[in-house]
């Protein structure tokens, strides 16, 4: 068991839940409301120094009673130690604090979790879908209640996909042309400003944020 778990317990007391070792990796459960605080402590405290956020992901189990878990993989580049932190979220309140203020790299990872599981990250600067396009209206594909082939008919899926605007899959920042924005041709400025809102012949049913 990674000694960081005991250190966490000393500082955060009952906010730290059960801990276990699986395949040699230590997993520790932290109260969802305090997870950002605990991770900041793990990152900044001398002797812990988990300075690299390897991944943020989530798990939903088949058992409908079980809560969703948000999983944080931490690694300390200095100490060569790894720790997996998990936070449990009940299905009717899928919200957790964003880690972007701590690790800028959490930005896209959290967008992916939002896109696939519908978990809202409080304080995220740009919480948009990242894998599916922004007008995708069928829900969050990795949830267990999501049918494998999607919710709409194939024809409707093709129709909505063809209605999307391919230029606008990128934000201005991603194209790094934000500074030269005003020198761009009128029509291109208009497309970029509109974002990823493609023109769909008739408005699709909005099921994005259930």
């Amino acid at each position: 068991m990674n000694p960081s778990v005991d250190a966490l317990r000393r500082v955060f007391g009952p906010r730290i839940g059960r801990a276990l070792v699986s395949c040699g990796d230590t997993i520790v459960y932290v109260d969802a409301g305090r997870v950002a605080e605990a991770l900041r402590w793990l990152k900044e405290t001398p002797g812990q120094q988990y300075n690299y956020l390897v991944d943020v992901t989530a798990v939903e189990y088949r058992d409908p009673e079980r809560p969703l878990e948000v999983v944080y993989e931490l690694f300390s580049l200095d100490r060569r130690a790894a720790l997996r932190v998990k936070a449990e979220l009940s299905k009717d309140r899928l919200e957790i604090d964003s880690l972007v203020p701590l690790w800028a790299g959490a930005n896209w990872l959290e967008r992916e979790v939002y896109d696939m599981f519908g978990i809202t990250f409080r304080g995220h600067p740009d919480l948009r879908r990242i894998l599916m396009w922004e007008t995708y209206a069928e829900g969050h594909p990795l949830r267990k209640d999501f049918p494998l082939r999607g919710r709409f008919s194939r024809a409707e899926q093709v129709r909505q996909a063809l209605g999307a605007n391919p230029e606008a899959h990128y934000s201005m920042d991603e194209l790094s042309i934000a500074e030269t924005y005003h020198e761009l041709p009128e029509d291109m400025r208009e497309r970029l400003a509109r974002g990823e809102r493609g023109v769909i012949p008739e408005p699709g049913r909005e099921r994005g944020r259930e």
Partner: protein, 208 residues
Amino acid sequence: MGLSPGHATPGPESRVLSGMSPNWMTTKLDFLVNWARTSSLWPMPFGTACCAIEFMATAASRFDLARFGMERMAFSPRQSDVLICAGRLPFKLAPVIRRIYDQMTQPKWVISMGACASTGGIFDNYAMVQGIDTVVPVDVYVPGCPPRPEGLLYGILLLHKKIRGETVVDGSLRQERPLDETGLRLPPDEVDELSEPFGNSIHQTRSA
């Protein structure tokens, strides 16, 4: 036209008239146009996945696409003749391939390379177009996962054969057919039918 007997095989379609200058020959316009088109098909590679690797192998020296007048990969749709979709097409790329197809100038053809491009393949799920023919018209389907380079070359030769059967008189072959007002290329029930699972995939058990 400077087709002398030494060059490109003058088949039964064309012959050099004896007693005339060898710099002249008579032929059918269709034959000549189709000969020119088949002999310099410039591919627009649309490689999205594993099939693209096999496409690269086909283009490289061992199999050598250049033998078929496809020397030049045209990465600009305006200067290409055949769109080769090598790999699965996710819904997010559907408007992109449609845009590229629309930008290509006539005459143009499409080869769907691999099981995924042709039918959705193993990806019978929420993210994948179930056959690119629901998005753009397809001339030749090449089966395989991925097709071997020989398979793709055979597909290209089939396309040559198809082009040789075309006629310049038939304007409908070169007519642009944009998406209709429903936002689709085909009627919706036809898209649904094309996307139906078949073969093994109907017997699989699936969650939800």
